[in-house]
């Protein structure tokens, strides 16, 4: 039987460990959690018509490299668009202000992520800036709906009409890399 002080220490350490584990589970594995140790960063926002199932914590990539994370998703009451806040690592501070942000899908049925394609401006994004050029998430139902509509309109033309609708069709399951830009039903939008 260990001495009293060792016993108390051992029990205290065990209980502390247990609670630390519980704390870890509740904060680090759920979306309502905290994140510790944020490296230097800056935040930019972008508005989308439809973000699909993009989530807080989804990655932000450029040329396939992860450069940031989605930290907040809001709703704009006036323009009825989703406002996504992205936290970019300070390491990647030379992103042109006219770059565009599109929402892509990881893998076949994976989650969504934001892909940035560089523009040509000489000024770079800094904290609080807004990305003007965006492309919404690819929504499977809309594509199918559009395909069916096209098909119903002109069955004979379905062959020629397809290229347009086929472009996303080729990537119907969704692009796997930011480079494969998939012009979804909505075209590029300029938001003033």
């Amino acid at each position: 039987m260990p001495k009293n002080s060792t016993l108390n220490f051992g029990t205290g350490a065990f209980v502390a460990l247990g609670f630390a584990a519980l704390l870890f589970l509740t904060t680090q594995t759920t979306s309502r959690g905290l994140s510790f140790g944020a490296p230097p960063h800056y935040d930019v926002t972008a508005k989308f018509d439809n973000i699909g199932d993009l989530r807080v914590g989804s990655p932000v990539s450029m040329a396939g490299v992860e450069i940031g994370r989605v930290v907040n998703i809001d709703f704009d009451n006036r323009e009825y668009k989703a406002v996504v806040t992205m936290r970019m690592s300070e390491k990647f501070s030379k992103i042109p202000t006219d770059s565009d942000a599109s929402i892509y899908t990881q893998g076949l049925l994976g989650g969504k992520f934001v892909g940035l394609t560089a523009g040509g401006a000489e000024t770079y994004l800094k904290n609080g800036d807004h990305i003007d050029f965006t492309q919404s998430a690819f929504v499977l139902e809309n594509l199918i709906g559009q395909m069916l509509a096209n098909y119903a309109k002109s069955p004979a033309q379905s062959g020629s009409a397809s290229p347009k609708t086929d472009a996303p069709g080729g990537a119907a399951p969704g692009g796997t890399a930011p480079g494969a830009a998939a012009p979804a039903p909505a075209s590029k939008e300029k938001i003033k």
Partner: protein
């Protein structure tokens, strides 16, 4: 044959009734037992801290297997990035509470049963009764409470270590994107899931500790009797835990 079956059923009901009455008796003296905090601390140490090694080892290996199997399965659907969610939910809601309970029954449960059984066999419990000290209050309840307190903590530790193991295999070995691993997890795991896991492990803790102290206290006061009590503890705990798991899972859905 039917008579045998009905007799076993009656015996089972009688045992169940005895166990419940024992639990009520324990709860009756618990307020007094809580005054002896030092006894409870000692028992939390015995049941919890001393079980840490096996719980952590088991958690690590189970997590690693989960990572491996999960990855292989999800890869078929191109959803490897969802490994984080799968591992976290599987561990926190099911594997953590259940496997911890089974291991607890094997390590701490048997220790409790054999300790009490030995005290019964060497007349220590009767001696305490003769000294006008209620052995239930002084010896049994602290052990029961120690087990109940230790179990959810052990389950949480199991889940965390398991997550680490799944992450070790999934991210570092199989190449799942670390960011997706954690972000999908954060998106897919709710505080409610964790609450469910904690409630489960608490109930398992009550069940396993109750069975262990009951068997030990009522063991036949011989060497063979103590051995039988120990075996029965493990077997009964396992069956009860798995049965309760089904009940609780369906209750939470």
């Amino acid at each position: 044959m039917f008579k045998e079956l009905s007799r076993s059923l009656i015996n089972a009901l009688v045992s169940l009734g005895a166990v419940v009455r024992f639990l009520l008796r324990m709860l009756g003296v618990t307020p007094g037992a809580l005054l002896r905090f030092d006894l409870i601390v000692q028992q939390v140490f015995n049941s919890g801290a001393l079980s840490l090694v096996i719980i952590m080892l088991a958690g690590l290996f189970v997590g690693m297997v989960l990572g491996l199997q999960g990855f292989t399965l999800l890869e078929r659907f191109g959803s490897e990035e969802s490994l984080g969610v799968a591992a976290a939910v599987g561990l926190v809601k099911e594997l953590g509470p259940v496997i911890t309970a089974l291991l607890f029954a094997g390590r701490a449960g048997t220790a409790l049963a054999s300790e009490l059984g030995l005290m019964r066999a060497t007349d220590q419990l009767s001696a305490m009764e003769m000294m006008a000290v209620d052995p239930i209050k002084r010896v049994v309840v602290p052990r029961f409470l120690g087990g109940v307190i230790a179990m959810p903590l052990l389950a949480a530790i199991f889940s965390v270590i398991g997550l680490y193991g799944a992450q070790l295999v999934g991210v570092q070995i199989m190449g799942v994107d670390s960011g997706s691993f954690w972000s999908q997890m954060r998106a897919g795991v709710d505080l409610r899931d964790i609450k469910e896991g904690v409630v489960k492990s608490l109930i398992f803790g009550v069940a396993c500790s109750l069975i262990a102290v009951y068997e030990g206290y009522h063991a036949t006061p011989t060497a063979a009797g103590v051995g039988r009590a120990t075996t029965r503890t493990v077997v009964t705990s396992a069956v009860v835990v798995l049965f309760l798991d089904y009940l609780l899972t369906s209750a939470f859905l």
